[in-house]
């Protein structure tokens, strides 16, 4: 699936990934390929991204919102 992490200042990440772990307001949750459409708010924490070659990257966010639709994930982070 395709992931974009956008902040008001710049684009943090853009690319094909395998899995994402997000700090949801009600607790951590993960998104895998072909997840159902979801909109969730995020709290302060770490976004863990695993890309197609099993490399993980961490992004610290102060909060935000995530939208998943048609295998496209957009994280609006702060």
């Amino acid at each position: 699936m395709f992931l974009e992490i956008i902040t008001p200042d710049k684009k943090l990440f853009s690319g094909e990934v395998k899995s994402i772990v997000l700090p949801g307001t009600d607790g951590k949750f993960g998104i895998l390929n072909h997840h159902a459409p979801i909109i969730s708010s995020l709290k302060k924490g770490t976004v863990k991204v695993t890309d197609t070659v099993e490399k993980t990257q961490n992004f610290e966010i102060k909060g935000g919102v995530v939208e998943m639709l048609n295998n496209q994930v957009i994280i609006l982070a702060e």
Partner: protein
């Protein structure tokens, strides 16, 4: 006719002014490019945020939130966004004029308070009878433009929202120069609070989203975010517009200096020629007298 020396002095002084204005023009052009880039960076974020919000509020009339509920208006706050430096043509004057007109006409019946972002506005409103707030902000308002990042602007926006939530003001407007292109700035008045209902263009998506934790919670979380983005966008716009305005002003100044220089050179040469002619006449006259 002015003496040679006088004209020469003026030529030197004008050409050094011209050097300064053309240097300022170049600096502004470079800064304008960077400011424009910042706007482009921010656009996808703002667009997506609005999309999600429209999507949500279409199926939810949340007209009872702290920020969206209309209250009877008594106290109005005007956020006036100007620049810290002058020499930008009518950039600051336009905004100040607009703000004063608003306060004296439309908001005549209310208590108007002003919050200035940018030194020029502050300098003006300090000399008027309007009440000014903003000295207790988490960031120095005038220093915002030195390092214009979302992280710097957000605390200020939060503070403004907090003041509104406490009920000190019933309506907050933001007045700034919208950036259209390098030569055109549009003085704009936008309502900041209460939130203007987002207009959905009748194409609410049919997608069946899962909402975590719930629609209401997400909207509650998103509205402050979109408000912060609104202020940030106004500041970015104003910043880019400022450099655009300064670039145009300095371009004009450089052109004017060029015209002046041409005229002065002409009169300098005329004076020089006249004095040479005079000298020759004197020499010839003297020679004639000797011969005679």
């Amino acid at each position: 006719m002015a003496s040679l020396k006088e004209v020469r002095n003026r030529i030197t002084s004008i050409s050094s002014t011209q050097q300064i204005t053309s240097a300022m023009k170049m600096v502004s052009a470079a800064k304008l490019r960077r400011a424009q880039e910042a706007i482009t960076q921010m656009r996808p974020y703002a667009k997506k945020l609005r999309e999600i919000l429209e999507n949500l509020s279409a199926s939810l009339d949340s007209n009872d939130g702290t920020f969206s509920k209309e209250r009877p208006v008594k106290n109005v706050l005007l956020i006036v966004v100007t620049s810290n430096r002058g020499l930008a043509g009518a950039f600051n004057a336009n905004i100040i004029k607009r703000a004063v007109a608003l306060a004296k006409n439309e908001y005549k019946a209310y208590n108007v308070t002003v919050l200035c972002i940018g030194k020029k506005g502050n300098d003006f409103f300090r000399r008027t009878e309007f009440k000014i707030i903003g000295s207790d902000m988490p960031r120095k308002l005038n220093e915002l433009f030195d390092k214009l990042t979302y992280d710097n602007v957000a605390p200020v926006a939060e503070k403004i929202m907090e003041v509104y939530a406490k009920g000190e003001f019933d309506k907050i407007d933001i007045i700034y120069n919208q950036f259209k292109n390098a030569a055109v700035q549009i003085p704009t008045v936008e309502q900041f609070l209460p939130v203007v209902a987002t207009k959905t263009e009748g194409k609410s998506s049919k997608v069946d989203y899962i909402f975590e934790p719930s629609k209401e919670e997400i909207v509650k979380d998103l509205i402050p975010r979109s408000l912060k983005t609104q202020i940030y966008k106004a500041l970015l716009d104003s910043h880019a517009a400022e450099h655009g305005a300064r670039m145009t002003a300095m371009h004009k100044a450089t052109d004017n200096a060029k015209d002046l220089l041409r005229e002065l050179k002409l009169s300098y040469n005329k004076a020089r020629q006249a004095s040479i002619t005079n000298e020759i006449l004197e020499i010839v006259g003297g020679a004639e007298a000797l011969n005679g």
